[in-house]
């Protein structure tokens, strides 16, 4: 079938062509500026939709991560509390400026001899000066103050 045959095949009457045009032609033309505005709005809307959702929550994620990291660092690297100065002085029974086993020896001897007991020697704070205070002083003497190797 050649092109000439096609032309002859679809030749119609003038009236029929007009009828077809009137049937399928747009009733009202869309103005170009309206068309551009619609297309622009559609494109903007689609661009907004295509934005990854996690980007919307990025500030919240960053804040949560910062809080978690800070918490873990605090729990892992918080240095142990140093013995307070007043407590250290309280354990220095013989007042030589250091807490060692000699303080425990002196306190034990004082308790054993039932001499007048200084209330300040109540190193564990239970209201009584007894062997438990000696143990507290001795344990302070052997505590690894500089951290273990």
């Amino acid at each position: 079938m050649d092109s000439n045959n096609d032309k002859t095949k679809f030749q119609t009457s003038e009236q029929f062509t007009k009828d077809l045009q009137s049937l399928f032609e747009p009733k009202q033309a869309v103005w170009p500026h309206v068309d551009r505005a619609v297309m622009h709005a559609a494109a903007r809307r689609l661009r907004h939709r295509s934005r990854p959702r996690w980007k919307q929550y990025w500030p919240a994620c960053a804040a949560a991560a910062a809080v978690i990291v800070a918490g873990v660092l605090f729990l892992n690297f918080n240095p142990p509390m140093e013995t307070s100065a007043p407590l250290a002085m309280q354990e220095d029974i013989n007042r030589d400026g250091t807490v060692d086993i000699l303080d425990a020896l002196k306190l034990a001897q004082q308790i054993q001899s039932s001499d007048s007991l200084n209330p300040q020697w109540d190193t564990n704070g239970d209201g009584i000066v007894n062997q438990k205070d000696v143990d507290t002083v001795a344990m302070a003497a052997v505590r690894m103050k500089e951290g273990v190797l």
Partner: protein, 150 residues
């Protein structure tokens, strides 16, 4: 929300993995238990109190136990920081208010050590203080002797 949760889990695992890391022990390394006897020679002076520090300078050593000495005045377990048991440094101290106190060379304590590996450990002893019943510091010498492997 799923992505947010996933990010949180990733961050948590990144942070927690290094802190949870522990030193793994090679299974092939031999382990032996050795007692280390500590002696103090206080000469003519009666020994009423002592305090010393032990460090291990070589080898992988853990202190697994501490027991008292040979003289009746020091048979009780000395004071030490339990936190130091898993490490290679420890301070040990004891006192006695008994009337009979040791003089001369006496074993004051025995430490039980767990040694991992074939390296023979070396030790450093420092006598912090030794005192007579009056609480006066006395001249004394501290030494150690390795016991038999158990």
């Amino acid at each position: 929300m799923k992505k947010t949760a996933l990010i949180m889990v990733c961050l948590l695992s990144m942070v927690s993995v290094p802190t949870a890391r522990t030193e793994s022990q090679k299974p092939s390394e031999p382990i032996r238990f050795v007692p280390l006897h500590i002696y103090i020679d206080s000469g003519q002076a009666p020994l009423a109190a002592y305090q010393f520090e032990l460090k291990t300078l070589a080898g992988h050593v853990e202190i697994v136990g501490v027991e008292g000495g040979e003289h009746p005045a020091f048979t009780h377990a000395p004071y030490y920081d339990p936190a130091a048991l898993m490490n290679n440094r420890i301070i040990i101290a004891s006192y006695s208010t008994d009337a009979q106190l040791p003089t001369g060379l006496t074993r004051i304590a025995t430490l039980h050590l767990q040694i991992t590996g074939n390296i023979e450990p070396d030790y450093e002893l420092e006598l912090t203080v030794a005192a007579d019943p009056g609480g006066r510091r006395i001249q004394a010498k501290i030494t150690y002797q390795k016991g038999d492997v158990q």
